[in-house]
Each structure stands twice: as structure tokens, then as C-alpha cells.
Symmetry: D3
Subunit: 224 residues, 6 copies
């Protein structure tokens, strides 16, 4: 089932992708019904990055980064590479040379359920990576995997062309055919939050804004 490279994948319109990036992970995740979040162990190598892009997916054997080279040829400007190893692995599949190559093709970042290295250089290049580990352990190039197939990455199903949103809160995947609707929902959510934020900053309690007091009392909450 491996050894396949899918070359033509559908992508979401750039303005939708950029809109999702602006909303950020927490808002997008809420807006799509709390689905698509990668596991909490996926952490950014530096703070402050917030990106979105079309997923170019990689299924790779443990300790073998051959498919990353294959995937880079498939990258278009605005893409994010996402790698899921076929069994758990923390090796450093990716470093500054591969980042140079990916960045030259317009790639916006990497999401990898494994390790990354050269993080000082990657930080200097402002090439953001979300990974399970930082680990200098090298890899080999001996066994095939696949590019642009469905993968489960850090507990989430990702199809090629899905939108990946990533920031300091982690990584969220938005299915391609839902991206536009999710963006609308996320923006609606942001609008409401601005209003709530103003009230809360003024000292109004969530208990009152959300009218929770009666429901709490019905459930039996007792003030003593």
C-alpha cells in the first residue's frame, strides 16, 4: 500500500486559507465543532508563529526520510508539509537543508509526528515546525513511503489538501470541503468574542453574560 505519490491534489482557495490562519487554532477548532485537533504533544519549535496552508502529506517509515525529498517536489506556494511515521518515532527527519529547499518552493512550515533538528537555524530562517520532539538523530533513505495519501497524524485524520492551521496552541486540521464554512463560523465566533471580551474586561461576570445561575442552581450548586 506504500510507494505512491499523488501528484494532483485539490487545494482550498488562498484567501480562505489565510482567513483561517488569522483566526488561529483555538477559534478554528471551536468553529468546526471541536474536531481535528492534533495531540497536545505537538509543540512549536519557537513561539509566536501562526500559519495555515494546504497539507502535502507524507507517510514515512520510522527513521527514514526519503519521502520528504519526494514530497518537496510536490509542494506549491502556500503548502504545509505534514509527516506521519508508520510507527512511533522521534528521529530528526528534517533539518535546515530540507527547510531551505521547502522554503524555496513557498512552503509555510512543517507538522511532523516525529523529530526535527537544526532548530536554531530553522528559527533563524523563520521556518516554523510543530513536532513531537527535537532530536538530532539522523535518518536513512532506504525504504519507500507515500506522498499525498490519507494519514493519521498525532491522532487526527489528515487528507492531502486539507487545511492545516498551526500556532502556539497546537495544530488543527480542517477538511478541504468544509474550509469555507468553517472560516465563516470562525469569523462569526470572533465577532461575538470581541463583544464578550469587552463586557468581561468591564467586570461583568460570565455567570451573568451566559445566564448560568439558574441552571447551576437547578443542578444543585450550593453556596456556603
Amino acid at each position: 500500500m506504500s510507494g505512491i505519490v499523488v501528484q494532483n491534489i485539490a487545494r482550498v482557495a488562498p484567501d480562505v486559507i489565510d482567513g483561517l490562519a488569522a483566526c488561529g487554532v483555538a477559534t478554528v477548532h471551536e468553529a468546526q465543532g471541536r474536531m481535528g485537533l492534533l495531540a497536545s504533544y505537538m509543540r512549536p519549535i519557537y513561539a509566536g508563529a501562526r500559519v495555515a496552508g494546504s497539507a502535502v502529506t507524507i507517510s514515512a517509515p520510522p527513521g527514514d526520510n526519503w519521502m520528504v525529498h519526494v514530497a518537496i517536489e510536490q509542494l506549491q506556494a502556500g503548502d504545509i508539509m505534514l509527516l506521519a511515521p508508520t510507527s512511533p518515532c522521534e528521529d530528526g527527519y528534517f533539518g535546515d537543508l530540507l527547510a531551505t529547499s521547502a522554503q524555496a518552493r513557498g512552503c509555510r512550515g512543517l507538522v511532523i509526528d516525529a523529530g526535527v533538528r537544526d532548530v536554531r537555524d530553522l528559527t533563524g530562517m523563520q521556518f516554523p515546525v510543530w513536532s513531537k520532539a527535537v532530536f538530532a538523530q539522523g535518518t536513512v533513505k532506504n525504504t519507500l513511503g507515500s506522498v499525498n495519501v490519507s494519514v493519521v497524524c498525532a491522532g487526527a485524520l489528515v487528507n492531502p489538501g486539507d487545511v492545516i492551521v498551526a500556532d502556539d496552541d497546537g495544530v488543527c486540521v480542517v477538511p478541504r470541503d468544509r474550509a469555507e464554512a468553517v472560516l465563516a463560523a470562525a469569523r462569526a465566533r470572533e465577532a461575538k468574542e470581541a463583544e464578550k471580551r469587552a463586557k468581561l474586561a468591564a467586570g461583568v461576570l460570565g455567570l451573568d453574560i451566559y445566564r448560568m445561575r439558574e441552571r447551576l442552581a437547578n443542578k444543585g450548586l450550593k453556596y456556603v
Copy 2:
């Protein structure tokens, strides 16, 4: 046993609390006999914060942040919210809206044996959080917990009104009725440390300052 909100809790005098903050976690922990430290997995969302405050405690079901709203009403200026889930959970109970509300009431930070989200915004607001995880996963508001009851948080017993001290080294709890004595001990310790630091910086060895050579020899240490 849940569904209770204790409204009037005793607190420690503000100058004692501020004194403990100035000493920091490592010193306070030593000064009270190496007790009260939360587990090492409790990490700050950004470096450099150092705070102390009176604990407003929250016992919450996994994946349900209803009680956070209830707790915010109980906050006074100078408090720190501390949340312990009733079973292990990494969900993001808390984000920038709740932080806005808590900050409006003078809350100095959050200690949570679970997850937090919107960390970029929280960092921008300078609202410090010590947590087990950063995770955008949302929560529901369906099940009661309690506010201002005794909890075990990240391995430490915390009673409402205890002083929470938190910095880059982690989080320490000081029992309310010991806070004044611990502050005195912590300041005494700091005074001594200044003197030792000067000697050590001048190249005098700890082996000599602490007169360890004889005891090491008695135990059988051999130089070869």
C-alpha cells in the same frame, strides 16, 4: 461531595504574599522544609513570571470548565486560581476570555493540572499560567464541581487561602497558617545565600564553606 462553593475563605496578609513572591519558588520550598511542591510537569506558558497569591481552588470534572465561571465570582484582587480535575485531563479549560474576566477582578494567574489555550493572547496580556499541557481542546458546561474545597493538585494538597508561589522553577503551595513563618525563614535563607554566593564567586569551594571534607573522608571517599 461536589456542588459546593465556599464563599468566605481566609487569606494571608498581602505583604506576606508579596514577600513570598519576591523570594521565589526554590527558596520558599526550602524554607518550609521541602514540602508543598507541585509535580515538575507543571510548566509556565512563558518565561520570567514570578507571582504569589491566595488560592481560590477549583475541583472540576474532566473536560468541563463550568466551575471556572463560578470561581471567578469568588476572586479578589491578589488571588490565584488553582484547578485540579477529578481525573487526569489535558483539555483546554481556560483561554483569553476567561483570563480577561479573571484579570478584571485582580487575579494574578492560574495554576491548572490540565490544559490551557490561547497562550499567545495570554502572553500578550501578561496573564501567567502554569499548566500540564497547552491544548486547544474545548470543554463543556454540564457537570458540577466545587469551588474553595481542599484539592490535590499535581501531587500537592492545596486548601483554599493557601499561598501559591509560582515562577520558572514551578509551583509551590504554602499553608495559610505557616505563611508568615515561612516568609521569615525564606528571608533568613536569602540573607545567608548572598554571603555564600560572594564566597563561591570568589572561588572558595563549597567543600570548604560547608566543611564537607572530613565527613566525606569518614564515609570513605577516595581520591585516585
Copy 3:
């Protein structure tokens, strides 16, 4: 087998050590055949440090830092202390007082398969530490260990006088008698990488630079 301090250990020439520091962990690790890397849980307390030094090794009981005081006397300018507990432990063996003492003797940093504390002060002093944990938990001084004996630290064998290289990617150990050869290999590697980086930045693919296309086809890779 414990209770021993080896006083005279051989060290590598300073320029070789400094050369290895300049190459960094990922390059050095590759240059010596992908050996000697410590486990990925060894993380720096602050970003950006890159050091190399001769290992002064410490084998210490869990929760007992007595041997750190003994080891400091053995330090020479340019050394790095490396501590391996005799069984897994996260206690804070080391803080700002010990760092002051070590720094006064020219020590360049600490690698510890356990905990460290006072990280705010250590950051202020620019004394870099790579550790398994940040934990304010104190230690006692009751049981002997050894200094400058062979240890297994975070999964890697370290002999006293080996060169420790550490940066944001983690920690790597270079056996003393291989240091010069490894430096030569690392520099050769760096020279080649500069050339490759330029090509990759210009958009040439790794598939072509490394001539992978034929071998991938032979293995059965299919483009669809």
C-alpha cells in the same frame, strides 16, 4: 564501586573542543556516524546556547547532590559537568549557588539526567543547562557517588574527558580519542552543506542533487 574521585583526566585540546562547538550537535553527530546522542528529553533551560567542553562526570544517588560539590573542585576552565543519577530521578540537584561556584572555575555548563532549579537566575548568569526536568525539589548530602568514572547518561556512554557538545538540538558526546577526527569530518560536512544549501535555495531539488530518481523508481515508487 562508588566513592571514587578520579583527579587526573585527559582532555582534548581547546581548539578542537571549540571547533566542535562551532559545528553544533547535529553536524557533529552526523560526522561521527550517528553515535553518542543523548535522549531527546534532554532539553536546554533557555534557547540559543551552543557550547562544547570536556566532561567531568558525576555518578550520584537519587536525590543526593553531595558529589556535585566534590566535582566542582575537579573542574578546569572549559569543562562541562555531566551528572547521571544511579536510578531515575528528577530532583533539582543544581541551582544558582552551585552555578556561581562552577562558573568561577571556568565551567561552561551542566548536562544532567535529572532536575535543575533557579533557572531564572541561571538564565541571567548565562550558565546553560541541559536537563531532564526543571524541578525545585531539593536534595540531601548523605550518600557517596563518584566523580570522573564512566557513566551512562540519558542513554549514552560518557567517559571523563570526552567532549560534550550541546545546543538547541540536544547533547552529543564525542569520545576523547576520536575528537580530532570527528572535527575534521564535521568541517568537511559543513563545507559540502554550504554548497548544497545554495543549490537548494535556488530551487534545485534534492531528488536531483542526490540523484535519487532512479533508485526510487527501482524500489517501485509510482507517481499517480
Copy 4:
């Protein structure tokens, strides 16, 4: 996206399911190209069970087992329940009462990426469970999830009606439309293995059976 119960799901023919059970997890996993394995932390509560069944899937909130009651009504003889929490949780969603109910409907076991309790009783009933944890922590019944929707469970994508195979080696999922082909491949594999096993037991080396010597030499293996 939650709050849905799909009632009519397609299932694989019973003899195919039973054939897959007889082959066991390791063989089935190999036969389908090394896909579909759940994470290694999924362990049986007692040794020796080997079952296969049609997946009735449950997506449940953390700490809330309401949907298990809903799912039991959907069970047919020969089914296996498979529960994935919407965020990581180790609570004991399932005990002997639910097992009694499930067993009364012909359910063959439970696969749960969370906790289970009453394991002594479950063992006595010979109701096998593969779980992430054994934990007596109870759950509530306050929030909806879904039954018979696609879920990611312990890192593997599972659709309702897929075949679950489970034994002491762990748990593997076979997509419904591939079950028959996988069974054929698994049986072919078993036939070959019997022959190899006899040779190996007689002392013939795998190096010779699989003709590895030349390829090893070509790769550069050196005997010294």
C-alpha cells in the same frame, strides 16, 4: 457534529470475521500491508483472548459514558464495541454491569482508548477488553457523543462495520471492504509460515531461507 446514532451499518460475513480471528493480529496486520494497528499501549485485561468482530464505534466526551448505553442497543451478535474519547482520558467508562448487558446481546469484547474497571469480574465472565488503562474512576452521563461514526482510536482510523481483530499482541482494524481479501492473504501467509517454521526448527538459518547473504555483502556487512 456529535449527537448522532447510525443504526444500520454494513457488516462483514461471519465466516470471514471468524477466519480473521483465527489468524490473529500479527498475521492479519502483515497480510494487509502493515496498516491498521492500534497503538501499543492498548493492552488486554487478561492473557489468551483472541477475538474478531464488527466494530460498533463510539465517540464519547472525556469522563462521560452515556453513549455506551446508547451503543449497546445497536449491538448484534458478533460485534465488538470500540470507544474513542474526544480528548485523552483514562476514566473507567465500562464495568461488569455494562459487560453483562453487552454480553447478553452477543458482543464479543470491548476496545477502548480510555479506562475500564471491574476487571476481576470481566475476567470471570471471559469478556475481553483491550484498554489504555485500568482505572476505577467513574464517569457521568451528561453530554452527547455519537455511535457508529468514523473515529480515530489509539492512532488508527476505524469506520463502523470494520473488522476488529484483537489478541495478546494488540488490536488491528481491517476495513470492511478489504476483509475478504485480507483473509485470503492472511491464510496464504500462514501456509508459508508453517513451512518456514519447520525449516527454522530444523536449524536452517533465515539467512539461507531468505537468501540474504549476497544482499548483506553488497550493502557492506563485514564479518570480523
Copy 5:
């Protein structure tokens, strides 16, 4: 704060303790409002044991089992020893010699948030242990701890004389002054469960026994 042995502790009546043992961990934990459960990593060294006893608590430094010897003198028939290290540790504090001594005094088992060894012998002696790890690593006898003081063990607060209930599901602590009431509640629960079990075994659904259908519909559950 350490270095204390409390000699006279109050204990619960033997028939209450034995009653709690007969109910088992899951039932007792439910009966006391889902409190007092130790973390799920506390596992028995062999399956099938179910015991209850009065807690003789031990607070011990990491890697130092001196206080176990002190605690054994405090044991009475029917007691269970419970050890919490002052910082996380997996060393083997306890083996067959200590078990022989404890068993000679009528001790019913050990609960230890650390390691145990000689598990083959302990199994042969039918001396049950619930531990965080099995680890042959030995300990020293150099530093004081305390016996019969309050401890936090695997996330639960335990006071000396509290009742410890332990079986294949884990470990639960019942506060001394609540033991009788909890036993009554546990027995009431068991009575009800027998009735429910019979109905469920006969094929009646929990959805009907617990009248959940209306509440599910009100929450919005949809059958499709």
C-alpha cells in the same frame, strides 16, 4: 518536618474493614462519591488479590528505605503499609525480606508510589503489592523520613488509620471517620447492582432501566 514516628493511631473496626474489602475498589469508590482513588499507574504485582487494611503511612526520601524498617514496628495485624516518596522515584524499596517481616506482624500488603522487587517471591508468599514500578534497584538507609503522617500518594491524600482498599482495579482510600458510612453505602449499592445485573443479563437495556431515552432526546440525540 520529617523525622517523626506517630505511634498511636486510631483504626477502624475490623469488620468494617473486611466489609470494605469484600465490596472492592470500584464499588467503594462509587459509594464515597468518587473520591480517594489513587492514580491508574498503581498496579498489582499479581492478579486476583483483594484486600483492605488500616494505613500505616511512610514518607520516605527518594532511594532510601530506612523508614520502612521503622514502620514495620508500628504494624498491627490487619494493617497495610503505604509509602509515598518525597519526590518521584521508582527504586525497589521493598522485597521479600521486608515482606517476611511485615507478614510476621500481620500486615496485609503494601501500596507504594515507587518500585518493588523480588516479585516472584512476593507472589509465592501471597503478599500483595500495588506499585508504580517493578524495579530491582536497591536503596540506601541514610536519611530520615516519617511514619504515620499525612501523605499524598499517587495523587490521593492519605492519613494514618484511613482504610486502604485494593484489588485488580487499583487502590482507593477511605477516610477513617467515613468508613462505616461508606460501607453502608457500598452495600446498598451492591444490593441494587444485583437486581440490575439480572435485568441486564436478561436483555433489558440500560436505556430503559435508567429511563434515559427522553433525556437523550431532549439533549438532541438523533437516530439516522
Copy 6:
């Protein structure tokens, strides 16, 4: 540095090896000064096995078991295979076919800092394995490693020909040139333990046997 098979390794005399097996892990580990223990996550696939043998070591890439085939040819009766992956991996390198081959050559078991599969068959064959994981995930045969070189396995340094002792308590390595002395020390220890066990079973306290009371009092222990 990989791609090497060392064919002639020195081994310890069979009666010494068998003597160490009879003593078991905990005793041997104590007898050699508490060194050489593998990490506590190394667990047996079934309870009750106790073996010792000469280490035939394997250094293997993650997810690649080619070297196991190479190693089997190097096995002699009484050997134990020990595999350390070059970076962390839980894949199932070994199953019943390889065990059949190894057993045919007199191999007594496997110690593997990675995964194993077919554990039901291995249990039936009484071929004991100590591993980090049970995981059906298969491996490839594409990359060289080495056989009979020094490795760090689960935190312990192992040289080919060292004696491996393994039982329910875990795994311990005894350096080849110390095996005879360690056996003598282990037997002396056992002799003393028998005497102590009799006293302890008769109710004499360790406090008195080991004369601890005075030293405890000097340290400041207080009975209250």
C-alpha cells in the same frame, strides 16, 4: 561504524552463568554493587521465567530487524540475544518464526529495548522475552546494523559475552570478567539472607537485627 559482525566472542563458563540464573536479578544486582540494571520499563512477556545467558548483542536501526537474522547465526547454546535500537522504537522486531530459529540454536531468550509480537506463541514455546513493548508492527530489512558490538540497552552498557540475568524483577547485566566474583558475592548474600529471613519470620525486627535504633536516634528520629 555499523555493518560489523564480530564472530568470536568470549563467554563465561556455563556453571557460572547457571549459578547467576539461580540467584536471580535482585540478588545479582546487589552482589555487584547495584550496577548494571536495565530500566524498569523492560518487562517479561509472561511471569515466572528466570534465565541467564551470554549476550549476543545487536545494534539495529529503528524498524529494521535484518540484523536479527544475522545474529542468530552467531548464537551458541546458552546465549541470550539483546537488541538495542539506534534510536527509540517500539516496533515488533521479533516473533515466533525468529524464536523458532533461535530456540533451535539453543538460545535462552531475548532482551529487546523495542517491541516483540506473537507473544501468545512465544509463551506457548516458553521462549522468554523482556521488552519495552508488545507491538505487532512489522519491520523491514533494508539497513545494516551490527552484531556483537558494545551497546547501551535500556540505560545499561552491554558488551558481547557479558552475562544477562533476567526474571520477573527485570534484567541485569554482569560484565564478563566480573561474573565469577559476582556469583561468589551473590551466593554469600543468599546465605546471609536465609538466616535473616528466619529471624524476620519469627518476628524479630530489622531495627534490631541491623542495630538501627541508635543511628536513627542520632539522626534525630522522634517517636510521638
